[in-house]
Symmetry: D2
Subunit: 207 residues, 4 copies
């Protein structure tokens, strides 16, 4: 494999990128100035150095002022509501929720969804880390509710169910409520074109 | 205007049909057999004769066995739960809800949505008919809840608000609850790409 | 089947219309005034009466002023260039070509394309009528060229080939040229995303 | 700007990538192993070192075996037909044409298209380098034809016209023909939906 093919293979792993666009990226980089490529190259190399994964929520965050902190600014913020913990699949879900400014509690990144057919799920998602986190947060911090916040898809539904089963013992022990994001009509939904599940949820959750 | 142009104009009013497809419909009809066109022509003519608009819910329904009934089979069905009344915009919304088999109560077709900027709304939607219907259904039939079931769009939201204001007096008088379909994540919704309103509703309606 | 289902079935045969849109058409017609439906119904019935199929080119055309003509206005027009005859699949192709105002000769509607795997093709397309037409036009009218104008698809290519074989004898007898529409880059084509056949044709037909 | 924002800005310049996907790329890289990112980083850095721009055709190519060659393998290949020179906009157009295996001559990368309204075009495209190339290739190599191969768009058409004007003198001097890729129906084109220009070209280029 020559360097064009190697780079094409790597870009193909980028989210949403197919062979053709991966190759366009390579030709794009060939036509750039040396300075542009050097800048991109060194930023990619620095990313891991300037970014740390939070020991509390497993979120990636930028290390500020060379501080040797291992806790992200949300987990370190004393004003964040520590009575609720929202469990999301990935960083970009957290960013989306954070941006909406409707939630003011803590987060936990599960690191993936649980496939519907899967034997060894523990290796994939951070369910053990989540249990430990709940135990730690329960007593002193007064954690009262876990909010499961997964996408509405077969995998998302399965992960919701899986998490409820796995967290049953620890949440019962500390008397913590488990809830899931509300389902129903989302912005732009037209009744006429809604699927049965959405109509069922919309009816059940009417208010 | 020749007949091709006249028919094109009419087909252009069909939902979702532009000039080009309207014209294709005309050429399609020209190439059909005479029998096909005669059949279509007479079915269109018969449609109004074989279909009646229900005096109770304003839904269109097929008149069975030449009965002179003015009430559709849902309104006439004694097993339908008459304690709830779902208000929808149009017939196809009702059909969609009916098909999902999750709702077993009565319906009312409002006949449209209330535009956000609009002076004379009464002429457009059947709000007076709805008030009258509620008064009638309230005492003997034991109507207990009105479910507003509009699409999640500026017009849908506006109509929800408008209906709540207009129905305030009659529902308070008869102690009838007003609810709206639940909002939140609908099937296929990905957290990462959700708008703020949907996230807010999903969080508020968590359970 | 009730009338709603019957009409839905018919609308489903309209070009490009699926079950859901077919049903929307029926609900649309139910909500229209009686006058609208009567007008549509009678126009559909009149279509076949006011439209005739040209005996020369098999095109559908509007019969003007109750004249008992069997020849369309293109075939009847003495200023149309009768030295060229363009063979197209269907009426809408002819309309598109006519609208572009780049061609000033005669037309012939073949009435379909020849499927790649098909035993009894003659029954489907008007190849015998075309042969007869060519014989008739050859001597007195001075027909010099047949232009095959089919879409660039497997069926279109197959029909082009089929027509060339079938017309070989009659065109050789009368010394008539057979040509096909030029292939190459069409408006909006980007070189980067072109298929091999288009590139081959574009290169071959460079000028 | 933190490193996430900086990288997002750079990825936004990649062809076809918007803000949202650019950010997803950054989160994707954060979640990768250090080895993956180091590999990507060093490949991007090496790209310019392992790739050279051909002095003859301005195409990017991989330097094989550390040879200090400045000529790509197409330009260096004695079996390539040097009597034709195809002028394309960019590397990916050349790759597409090369892959189709229908052309066996030389290439020249113009480096862009000429905008319809533009004062200083020379700085953008390699028209001077092309003229020089033609002069050099004309006598000894026996260059006989220049094929202009631009996309069918206002800019592509304008560049075709611009190149013809600019190359007039040098091609007349050496008696070299200028042609452009053939226009007409491309694969998948349906007559019914074709624009006037495509129909005009298809008719003109019939054969």
């Amino acid at each position: 494999m020559d360097i064009i093919e190697k780079l094409t293979e790597i870009f193909k792993e980028f989210p949403g990128i197919g062979e053709r666009q991966a190759k366009r990226f390579v030709y794009f980089l060939m036509s750039r100035t040396g300075a542009y490529n050097e800048n991109l190259s060194s930023l990619i190399l620095d990313l891991k150095k300037e970014v740390a994964q939070c020991k509390e929520c497993f979120r990636f965050f930028i290390i500020e002022n060379n501080k040797k902190t291992q806790i992200c600014e949300i987990c370190a913020n004393p004003h964040v509501d520590s009575s609720v913990l929202m469990v999301v699949e990935k960083d970009s879900d957290l960013e989306s929720m954070k941006k909406s400014k409707v939630y003011h509690g803590k987060y936990f990144i599960l690191g993936g969804l649980v496939p519907v057919v899967e034997k060894n799920t523990k290796s994939r998602v951070r369910i053990d880390e989540l249990k430990k986190k709940i135990s730690t947060e329960a007593r002193p911090q007064g954690l009262k509710e876990i909010i499961l916040a997964f996408s509405i898809s077969p995998q998302g539904e399965h992960t919701d169910q899986y998490a409820r089963e796995q967290l049953k013992d620890v949440t019962e022990k500390f008397n913590i409520k488990i809830s899931s994001l509300g389902k129903g009509l989302s912005t732009g939904t037209e009744l006429e074109y809604s699927d049965n599940d959405t109509l069922k949820n919309a009816l059940k959750n009417r208010q």
